[in-house]
Symmetry: D2
Subunit: 287 residues, 4 copies
């Protein structure tokens, strides 16, 4: 691995300095590192073609943005958290250099993560398409009381939700917004589509886990006009009557470098506050 890109969170001096320091450290080891700041959509710089790894320095939000922009290039991404531990940015600044040594030596594992492709279909306009790592959310405006969303799976009617909105999520997204809305935790290397309503009126409208071959199409009752589409909580559009949103698995996966120090279950326990019971040392391997 001769070339890396280091992408830092926009306007976060601490991330920038850590990135600069990493670039010098890499140079001493004969590795060229291109520094990039995470830019909003029209300003995204192209990735130099020979880059073999992207190191993201920031938080889960920065990594989501990088995944949306460069995910299709099939370049492995390593997430480094500059603040607290993230679900996607598993490596802390303290662990960065030991982790990088292993990565440069080729001692690392990658994990393929499902990406979803969301398409907004509007009469008389070309379809608008985006790729997400966490979730596609359709929800009501703040002053609206409710919306009515109809969901079709592979062209078959599922149901009509009366709710604050609907989330279509990846396994990666299952520990983000989906969890707050009552969803399950889905092991991140699985490849499924999670559909769940936000605050549904019908209390039996529970989350549904679907095969990744499914196409989820969503239309809404035109009487409820204050409806929005949000992608990974970062990009949004107002919807118009007769709009239709289609969500399906993206053709490519995101390649994420796994933390050499920390397993998924450790992150779950740390982030969700589990494991204060029973007096077991949490990293303990079963005997």
């Amino acid at each position: 691995m001769r070339n890396l890109a280091i992408i830092t969170k926009k306007q976060k001096p601490r991330a920038w300095e850590a990135g600069q320091e990493l670039a010098r450290w890499l140079k001493q080891r004969g590795v060229e590192a291109v520094p990039l700041e995470n830019e909003p959509e029209p300003h995204i710089p192209p990735l130099p073609p020979e880059v073999g790894l992207i190191v993201v320095m920031g938080g889960d939000g920065t990594l989501l943005s990088v995944a949306r922009h460069y995910g299709r290039l099939n370049v492995p991404i390593l997430g480094v958290n500059v603040g607290g531990l993230g679900f996607l940015t598993e490596v802390s600044l303290e662990e960065l250099y030991p982790a990088m040594e292993q990565v440069l030596a080729g001692h690392f594992e990658v994990e393929n993560r499902l990406l979803l492709s969301a398409t907004l279909i509007r009469e008389g306009q070309p379809p608008w398409q985006e790729t997400v790592l966490n979730d596609v959310v359709i929800n009501k405006g703040a002053l609206a009381r409710i919306i009515e969303l109809t969901v079709w799976i592979d062209g078959e009617y599922l149901t009509t939700y009366r709710s604050d909105g609907l989330i279509v999520s990846t396994p990666t997204g299952s520990t983000a917004y989906t969890l707050s809305a009552g969803g399950p935790i889905v092991y991140p290397s699985l490849s499924h589509i999670i559909v769940l309503p936000i605050c549904p009126h019908t209390l039996s409208n529970r989350p549904i886990i679907l095969p990744d071959s499914s196409t989820v199409a969503i239309t809404f009752n035109e009487r409820f006009f204050d409806v929005y589409l949000t992608l990974d909580g970062q990009v949004g559009r107002a919807l118009m009557p007769r709009d239709r949103v289609e969500v399906r698995a993206a053709p490519h996966r995101l390649t994420l470098v796994k933390s050499p120090q920390r397993s998924y279950f450790e992150i779950l326990r740390a982030k969700l506050g589990w494991g204060e019971w029973g007096g077991l040392k949490l990293n303990e391997k079963e005997k």
Copy 2:
């Protein structure tokens, strides 16, 4: 009872006709009925002073609006549903005349329902105050990912919620939005304040039931600017940084005429789809 007001849902011909028919029926019995349409705020007509009963013809939404406007007058309100059974409009059109006969004969019970008073306090402006029968909601705009709301009870810090928003509800409101957001069912004649976050990040942020003597004050982290206040899902305002919302019991209660035909538990079973088990006749009294 010599004078009644009949308030019908705006622009709903079926409600209007039913109201006209009721007025004629009442006139034959020597009772004068003032017909009113449910108007938005600046156009609300004053209630003639000698009115002894308000009959609302519409749905729960119409009754909420009437409660907000005339609730303080201490005039009993009878809710008649023109469409499906409501939690507040318990009397159907078929049951209307038998119910009215009982009411005119003075054979009816009333129930006092807690109203909440919400005050928006903004620097340099007079406080804006409203009364609600269901709930006070503070929530994020559709394209925002999250807001941070700090709650104080009687001046003491409760917690800081990271969530889609917060509901402060009456027992009457416990079967409305609150139920969709994970709240309990509170018997409607009780007098409590329910505080619950909408899709909270911290999964142990469960609904809290507080005494009706409590003042619930809410402020929000200014970094999250896209924040709205909604009252009974009908009246809303955008909030500004440094705004503060205070919710407490209103000084007066709403006087609601109870359906002579139908108990609260029957309405719960019908609206929530209970009772398909066990082969018991649902109205059966215990032997």
Copy 3:
């Protein structure tokens, strides 16, 4: 206050030693302390009649047991936790002596807590009655799949639950088993009865909060014979076909001494892991 009882958790040397030390400390201040161990039912010693305060040293379980045995005597109870912070044993060993100084000086507040009275009615037998501070639980045996429980409120049919069981709880119990089963947090000085099914088949069977004047009667479908009654998780009985359990407010309340150091909201935040957000100091008073 000249006479105290110190009740310690059975066979817990640490609690016993702390109790002995407290007794000596009290003697130096001219206060006589009767030491008692918390005994199971037939062995409960009577409380010396002139006792003006009970100090319980143990955990919430010990206090529940003391409340069941001595709750009706109207003697204030102070809970001291020997292990971790409890919802009922709010005072830690470190805080004990400052707290006792305030108590002896008469500087303390008490809180009245609702107790429930549970009566088991069985044909041909005298009723068996017990008082609980947390909850009355009716549940299925471990190898049974489901039970069917019918609930009547003041003689009116509520519904028939198909579930693992049913909890009838006080506000004090709302942060115990009830919380695990999906119940809300009810401010502990409120006086209500919470009814909630455990893992109900009908997903809209949400917790219900009832007035403390309610009588909750429970019968069960005789086809499901493996049914048990448990009181505060400490006393239990197998139920028999045609048994009937009635739960209502006990005629007396429990008098609990409030911690001078710690408010209810502080305990909630500590026990439920709230408040890691927002950078607010948690004890901070509103400015």
Copy 4:
């Protein structure tokens, strides 16, 4: 297809008669049908070797039992409900003959369902192994307050649950007990293992969806001795200290004949009471 087995629910005359009638109907078409009653474990008759289809007449419980006994034989199973619509017994008596005509003509689809293999490992005894279609449940006895269960995934520590118990479920089981305990709906042809605690003390202990390659091992804290293992809610054993339960995908799948009349989403809507909103005809195909 020349040979069928018709297995009817034990001691259910209606199922038996329907089975006899089906046998006569089949005979007229040159198909031999072996009638069997669903027997408890030591009495299970062997399936005649040339049987090409099993028709189960009863409810979901009968089909679960048949799946446990004959699932490994790879013979397709068609479920016919004699009472109400089931998740597994999708064909009603009214639909039976049209469905059978299609089946005999070879016009049917099958679906492979994940089965779980549960092994109880006890010192000094041979392992006891069973196969389930719905779930493996470990739970506390009725009079116990709580148990402490430690879960290991592929030898790595997951967490220690303080709860009423734990469910390890298949996608098929996701609409059974798992749903009552707060689990998601998992599309039944998916192949995952769902792990979820029953009434956990730690409120962030949400359901987890794991790959079907996982081995889930469960041990329990010996202080809590009143612990039971239940398989599909039908077979149970008391656990002993130092017991260990291992759950993994069974080597074979269950082959279930899909109803020609009814899709999975239709069954979801009917069983969970969805779809009363929006005025859409529920079977309507998207235009």
